[in-house]
């Protein structure tokens, strides 16, 4: 499973609609629109889902999105086999 921080580049005129559509997707947490063209979001995929395929599907299904650019990806539960739901 992966947790990724992404900057989503969207068409300026479409960005509000893109934001609303993203908010409906359970795997995505949005963190606002920035500089009129970016949406900051965190994507969490379950072990059964492929992050890459998931992001590609989102982009392909939304003509308002110009690109999704990961800035951070964490796979430590996969690599190290650790649970992520314990308190730190």
């Amino acid at each position: 499973m992966a947790i990724a921080g992404v900057a989503i580049l969207a068409k300026k005129e479409e960005i509000q609609n893109v934001y609303q559509r993203l908010e409906q997707i359970p795997e995505i947490t949005t963190y606002g629109i920035h500089q009129e063209q970016y949406i900051v979001a965190v994507v969490e995929t379950s072990p059964q889902q492929d992050l890459e395929k998931f992001l590609k599907k989102i982009q392909d299904n939304d003509p308002g999105i110009l690109g999704i650019f990961p800035a951070y990806a964490n796979f430590e539960d996969e690599v190290l086999g650790e649970s992520l739901d314990e308190l730190v």
Partner: protein
Amino acid sequence: MGVTRREFIKTTAAAAAAASIGTTLLPGGVKPLFAENDMEWHKSVCRFCGVGCGVLIGVKNGKVAAIRGDKFNTINKGHLCVKGFYLHKIIYAKTRLTHPMIKKNGKFEKVSWDEALNFVAKKFNEIRKAHGPDALAFYGSGQAETEETYMANKLFKGCIGTNNMEGNPRLCMASAVGGYLTSFGLDEPAGTYEDIEQAEMFMLIGTNTAEAHPIVFERIVRHKMKNPNVKILIIDPRKTPTDQVADLHLFPKPGWDLAILHAMARIIIKEGYADEQFIKDNVVFKDNKKNLTYEQYKQFLEKFTPEYASKVSGVPVEDIVKAARMFGQAKTAMSMWTMGINQRTRGVWANNLITNLHLLTGKIGKPGCDSFSLTGQPNACGGVREGGGLCHLLPAHRVVKNPKHREEVAKVWGVPVSNIQPKPGKHTVAMFEALNKGEIKGIYIMCTNPAQSLPNASKYWKGLKEQFVVVAESFFPTATTKFADVVLPAAFWAEKEGVYGCTERRSQYMPKVLEPMGEARWDAFILRDLGIRMGFKKEFEKYKTAEDIWNEYISLTKGRDLDLSGATYRRLKKERGLRWPVPSEDHPGTYKRYVKGDPIFDELSEEKKKGRWIYFYGKPEGKAVVWARPDKGPEEPTDEEFPFALSTGRVLEHWHTLTMTGTVPELNRAVPKAYVEINPEDAKALGIANKDQVIVETRRGQLKIEARVINRPKKGTLFIPWHWEEWMANILTIDAFDPGSKEPEYKVCAARIRKA
């Protein structure tokens, strides 16, 4: 109240994404949970393409557990594309090669390093003794580090004494090298990525930037969105995701774009967009045989009316005129291109004709202006072009045929100058042909997969089968290891330190953060140890660290156009790379060549410069060349028998022959197999439906593959992504090559298609 590790990582991820676009998330949005005490972060460089993005490698409990775009890296400012995102998974791929093997009775057997290296040394020495040094060869990679290519160069050219040393950049960048050398006298671009945000117009020709160089594309898009007047012209036979931002797209028949570039030059001059003073001061004109006057060049262009170019290329007249005006009217313009221009039998000419437009309009040397070749591989520029890893080159842009260059290099290498032959060795296609013929009897292949990546690939399997083949690789099996007699496990990215030099003349340091997997070793030290076993102890035993090798290499760059003597490990470890020339440790590196701020320009005497603001010091009198090249089409034009033009290329998710991205299930599942793109009109005429199995055939072979009916290729053209061994596109491609650059014409050949 505590937080879970998941919440903690989510916060970190959101903050990193925000930082990558230069913003912070306000309290209430995200709590500042930033200290990742248990993760060690190391500054490095992406392993994949020539964009050269900075990455931070997160190591936890001795394993790479996270990757982050490096927001302090000026190239990507924190962003990565999906390939960069999966780097860590490749390290732990099941296909990692972890021990040396020798093929015995047709089967690979695990052996010790001693046995493997002694065996290779003995075989190479026997071949050398019996057949001479030219019976041996080396074939390397634009993905190897500069230090690795440097060691191979020394072993083969300086010690064994053969110039049969090539690398796969011959297959992707050689025409760009030829273009820069013939137009400016020196290789590599004048400008850098910094020009992107200052350009008013982009000409993207023969490049699918969105998929092949995603972070460059993002910078262009971001710039255009901030500045809606920025114009983007695309010249490419295929519609690609890059089109999302195009203002105008010209779709030439594959291989027929030279006439368009000449027609654009003609319109630019006729309509007054040329910078006549710039031309007078800084440009000379030539055709393939002689110098021309400006008037003679104009005469030459007369043939290239928009109507003529339209007839040749299939592009409407009005679009050619619009394109020329777009280029002419913009105050600043940047051209970018990749394999659609380079992988052609007239790739050098195509490069020249792009640069012509910049020289005619004076759109070079100024902020926002450049003819800027995008590099495919992460260290094709650094290791192979600059490091001299081709059969005619020596380190630091030197050439074997120059006696002074041979002397300078032999002195640093500590070898007799007579060891370095003055005649260039065999270029890539010739090298594999010589292997087929048995003229080359032993080859060392490092970090590349020629059995799949050579054009007309199956033709060259004979030589690989019959001769003694050593493959040093991180992954097993590959199409090439099947033919190997010995395979040597090489350390992968993050398991070794070294330097990569990217598209914009920037050299960047990569640290070793992990121990190599299994018994894998660093390629440079494998070559060092092989050299010692072949009898070159004195020449190789002195290299104890990567820094020893780098220091020796940069000493050879001192005083050269690519002076890297100020780019020491000490500095590179701290900084996000340095762009050469960087002649001293207190020099900041160079944004633009040939103008003020370039230390070589700054040191030229006023007498020489005569008040000029730009001086192309690689050429006599500092004048660049506008070339009047003929408008030749592809080597194998379409005909009645083979009516389609076939092109090959990349998809975003994959890299080259899948040795790396094929090991990542996510990437594999995203694009699991090859396909042939066919235009809906052509498909209808041939009764082919989407997902039908079809046979694509050329004069060299045939391939059964799934059809993708899509409005991407122009009518009459086909496109196949070339990554898969199972659907090997290169059994179809043509191995005809550019006579100047020796780069093969992967991008165009004649084909036919039918339902299977």
